[in-house]
Structures are given as C-alpha cells and as structure tokens.
C-alpha cells in the first residue's frame, strides 16, 4: 500500500505545490499579518485602524454589492424569462445574440466605456439632449455610486443570464405548458412555476457574481470619485501610498468575512435541500 500512495502523492505534488505556494501561503500570511502587531504579539489593532478610517467604505461596499446583486438577479430573470417564454421570435433572436456581449469585455474596459457613457457631457446625456428629452443644464453625471452599480450590473447580467437561461431551457417544457393550460399568464408561469425550479442555479450565479463584484478594483477606481469608495480601492491605496500591508490585510479579512457570509447562506440552502430530498 505504501508504494502506490507514494506515487499517487508524487503525481499530484506539482498541483499541490502550486495551490500551497500561490494560494494557501499568501492567504495564511495575510491572515496572520492582519492579526499581528509590529512586535509580533497578537492583536486587533489593524482592525481598529481599518474600522476608524474605512467604516463608511465597508458599508458603501456592502451597499453597492448587495444592490448590484439584486439588480443583476432581476435583469437576469427578465432576460432568461423572455428567452424561455416569449412567443415573439425576433425579440428572442435579437436578445439571444445581444445579451452575451458584455461577457467578453474585461471590467477595466467596461469601466472605461462607462466613463465616456455616463459622464455629465457623456454619450448618454448628449443623446438625451439631442433627442430633446432634457436641456444641457439639466444633465448630471452618473459617475458615482450609480455608475459603479450600472457597470457591475451591465457586466454581470450576461453571466447570470447564461446560467439561468440554460437551466430554464432544461426545465421540462410540459411543466410550463401545464401552467398556461390551466390559465396562468406568462409572468405567473415564470415566477411561480419556472423560477422555483431553477432557484438553485440563480443562487449559484448570484453568489459568484457577489464575490466577483466584491473583488473588482478597476470599476470603483475609474468610474466613481474617491470618497466614499470600495474596499478594493482602499486596500490598493494603503499598499501603494503607505506600504501599509497590515491595514490592507485587515481590510482583506473583512472582505473575506463579507464573501463568507454569502457562501454560508448558499451552503445552508444546499444542506436544507439535501435534507428535504
């Protein structure tokens, strides 16, 4: 038994070394650094500092990511619902071809596009003015928290829709037809019959989106002003301007905690389902 297990270990050794060296070591190191004083004693002083300086940004980050996740969910349900239930072939065809595009655009490019689109004299406002919908003086810039949310939702909706539309397509069509046959409108069919059958997929998509949005640096940095801003920007600032890894690490641990809460909700839901089944 000793020899085969030794060779087995040898085979997975490179992969293990990669995970250990590039993921576990830095993670462990930053965790330890967040809880260690300069003289080596354990303490929460970095967290105190992070809280004093960035408590508004922590709330701002949670607000941005939660609102973006909810909006992403709403838009994804609407698009996937149209793709699954619409009886207008041209609408389905157009939507199917268009909705995936943002998937292939990196966050930084999306952020750059939004800067020119959402600015006070950007493409969006200029179009409204040209259409006569508003006066040049009435235009306002969307380059603040709204800009971040718009960019996040624009970027994440295709991803969640892709998962959701796939799951909806694999739902037995007859369960949809049975609902309509009994008199349910398409909206009711979507909300009461289709969505509960794909809830698991929606939850996975939203959890993944939540964690992704929590970790994006370029969008809050480029789209919005400096105050308040998201934790990623603060972390970059602590490191680049002060070389203050300790406070940056403490902010990182707070981000883990926020992401961990969502992961916990997801896992709990999963276990509940397994117990029921």
């Amino acid at each position: 038994m000793a020899r085969p297990s030794f060779f087995g270990l040898l085979l997975i050794a490179p992969a293990l070394a990669m995970i250990g060296g590039l993921f576990l070591y830095p993670l462990g190191f930053s965790l330890v650094a967040a809880f260690t004083e300069p003289d080596g004693d354990l303490s929460v002083m970095h967290f105190q500092k992070a809280y004093e300086l960035y408590s508004t940004d922590i709330l701002f980050t949670i607000f941005i990511v939660v609102v973006s996740t909810l909006l992403t969910g709403l838009f994804s349900i609407a698009i996937a619902g149209i793709l699954t239930l619409s009886e207008t072939p041209w609408l389905v065809g157009a939507l199917r071809n268009l909705y995936r595009w943002p998937l292939f655009i990196p966050f930084i490019v999306a952020a750059q596009c939004m800067r020119t689109f959402l600015a006070k004299n950007g493409l969006m406002n200029n179009s409204f003015v040209a259409l006569g919908l508003m006066e040049p003086l009435q235009t306002t810039s969307f380059l603040d928290w709204r800009g971040i949310i718009i960019t996040f939702v624009w970027k994440q909706v295709p991803f969640v829709t892709l998962m959701l539309a796939g799951a909806m397509a694999s739902v037995d069509r007859a369960t949809i037809e049975a609902g309509r046959n009994l008199g349910a409108s398409r909206v009711r069919v979507l909300i009461e019959l289709v969505l509960p059958q794909v809830a698991q997929t929606l939850l996975v998509g939203l959890v993944l989106s939540f964690v992704t949005m929590l970790s994006v640096l370029s969008v809050p940095m480029m789209v919005a002003g400096s105050q308040p801003t998201m934790l990623t920007v603060d972390m970059a600032f602590r490191i680049n301007s002060y070389g203050d890894y300790a406070t940056a690490n403490a902010l990182g641990v707070i981000s883990y905690a926020i992401a961990g809460t969502v992961a916990w909700i997801y896992l709990r839901h999963n276990i509940k389902r397994e117990v029921q089944a």
Partner: protein
C-alpha cells in the same frame, strides 16, 4: 403539418386520435390546446373561434405524457393551482382538492411531495390537477404511455369512468390501438397529417376504409386475390387455391385482401367451404403461448401466423381457411399498395 383536418366533437364525447408517431396527432392536440399556432383554418369552441386565443384563455385542461407536475409543489399545490389562478379562497381550494383526491383514491396525499410518488400516483395527481378546474374539455396527450401495463389498464378504466360520471368532453391522443378502442366513443385514425377515418371503434375495426387503416387496426397480413362476377355473386380466386363463391359486397378485379391473424383457421388442405377461401400449405412452426396453439403456415414463399385450439404435427399439409366476410378487400386499381407485409 396538418392537411384539411376537419373534426367535430359533440359535448361529452370521448374521442381518441390514433396514429403512428409523426402522423400529426400530437400536433393536432397541441393546436387545439393553443401551444402550436395554426397557420390557417378555425378551431371553434362552442361556436367561438379560438385560433388566435392564447392557451391560458381557452379553458381546456390537458394531461401530458411526462405528467408535467411541478416538482417544487406538494400534491395540494399542484392540484389546487388552477383554482388558485381563479382566485378561489384557500379553505375552498383545500376542500375541493380533497374531493378530487378522494375521487382518485389519493385521500390524505395533500401534503406529500410529488417527487415521492409512484408513476401511477403522479399521473393520478396530473389527472386531478386537470379535473380540479372542472374543464369542459380534457385533452390527453398519451398520458398512459409511461406507465407499466397493469397501472395503465387500471387508469384507462378510471379515466373512462370519471369521464362518464362528470360528463366532460375528452380528446385523447394515443398510438395504442387497444387503449383507443376501450376508451373512446369515436376513433379518429390519422395518417401523415390527414384524417384517414373517423368512426365508432367497432366500425373502424370491422370496416376500415383504406389499406392504411386496415393495417393500422391490426390486419397486417396481405393476400392478392382476383374477384370476378359469377352469377348473382362473385368468384374469388387466389393463386394457390381453388376458387370460392361469395355473395357479399366486394370490389371486382384484382384486389389486395388485408386480414388479422385471428380470422384465419386451420382446415383440411382440400376442404371447400362456401364463403371461405382455403389456401394449401405446410405448418413450419408451433408455439404454445397459453390457451391455444400458434402456428406458422408456409404457403408458397409466404408465411402466415394462425391460432388454433387443436394440436397439429409439424410439416403436416394443412389448409389455411380465410372467411371472405372477414377480409378487408381493396381494389389494386385504386390503391398504390403502400408498405404492407
């Protein structure tokens, strides 16, 4: 694709649409239900044209082959959904669902998950869901084909009994001839998007109007015959057999006769029976499926299956006796033959 399908259904009637797969029977049902748009023509429901009406407003209930129960709901949720859509109060839904479940021998199943039920129970729940809204028309899309034989036969009679009791109109799509025969008041046989024949089960079975219907209703053996006028009746000749006289109504000239295994019987090879044709041949195989023997008789280079109560030795010359009244004869000049055995 459906071509020139015209069918009138009387309220309270049980209609079975019978056909092989791809003949358009499910398309017809789905067009009636509104899931498939008709490019032309009309579907009149009590005089009202519903062709452009969405399925949810047609007021029909449908049973699906795959049960189509909603897995996230309980039995109560599934059966009561149609009532919930109609704004019926919760307490009333519960009592009406209980009544429906009692009718289907599912009393006490309200709070069970539908995923924990057997196939037969699921299809009963699906029937309950359709019947709970008290529809005037029930559409059945091969609802029994996923069930095992015993449950299928039991559900057949349950559906039929409920239909006679509650008086709804039923349109049942199936490829199972026996199912159609036992359940329906009238059978519609479909062939490549067209209605081939409509009639009572016995009428379609005993008097098919085309070679297709004859072979679909089980008369899959074919025999070429020559019919000539003779005196007051006709003289029927087969290649291998002595001519037989017959006074019934048959087409004259070269014909193809279609017959079921069970109309043939074994006789003496030289027997001459009025109104029957006797083909001389040899027994090549004998099996005993229970109750009677089944023989394979070789006549020339053709083989026919015959059931007979008596025991016969193999390789014995016998006569295959076919009563002319039980043959379905179609003139070769009208039919193109088709793909018959």
């Amino acid at each position: 694709m459906l071509h020139g399908v015209s069918l009138s259904v009387v309220p309270g009637e049980f209609i079975a649409i019978l056909g092989s797969s791809g003949c358009g029977k499910t398309t017809l049902l789905r067009t009636i239900a509104g899931f498939q748009k008709a490019s032309g023509g009309a579907i009149r429901l009590f005089g009202r044209d519903v062709v452009n009406m969405p399925p949810e407003r047609r007021g029909m209930a449908m049973m699906f082959q795959s049960y189509a129960l909603w897995p996230h709901m309980t039995v109560l949720g599934n059966v009561g959904y149609g009532l919930r859509l109609r704004g019926v109060p919760k307490d009333e839904i519960r009592s009406r669902v209980a009544k429906v479940l009692a009718m289907l021998n599912l009393t006490g199943f309200e709070d069970r998950k539908v995923t924990n039920l057997s196939g037969g129970q699921r299809q009963r729940v699906a029937l309950g869901r359709a019947l709970a809204i008290e529809p005037e028309i029930l559409l059945l899309d091969e609802p029994l084909s996923n069930l095992d034989a015993k449950v299928r036969i039991q559900l057949r009679s349950e559906i039929k009994a409920l239909q006679s009791r509650l008086g709804f109109t039923a349109i049942h799509v199936t490829h199972d001839r026996e199912e159609a025969m036992t359940m329906a008041d009238r059978i519609v046989v479909m062939d490549t998007g067209r209605i081939a024949q409509v009639g009572a089960p016995k009428e379609v079975y005993d008097h098919p109007n085309s070679p297709f219907v004859a072979s679909f209703m089980g008369a899959e053996n074919t025999l070429s015959l020559d019919v000539r006028p003779s005196g007051s009746g006709v003289e029927v000749r087969a290649d291998e057999a002595p001519p037989a006289l017959y006074s019934g109504e048959v087409p004259v000239g070269p014909v193809t006769a279609y017959f079921r295994d069970d109309v043939a019987s074994l006789d003496d090879p030289n027997a001459r029976v009025d109104g029957s044709i006797v083909l001389p041949g040899n027994i090549t195989q004998r099996t005993y499926p229970g109750g009677h023997y089944r023989y394979v008789v070789a006549i020339g280079n053709r083989h026919f299956t015959v059931t007979d109560d008596r025991y016969h030795e193999l390789a014995r010359p016998v006569g295959l006796r076919l009563p002319l009244a039980s043959l379905h004869m179609f003139s070769n000049n009208q039919t193109t033959g088709g793909n018959h055995a």
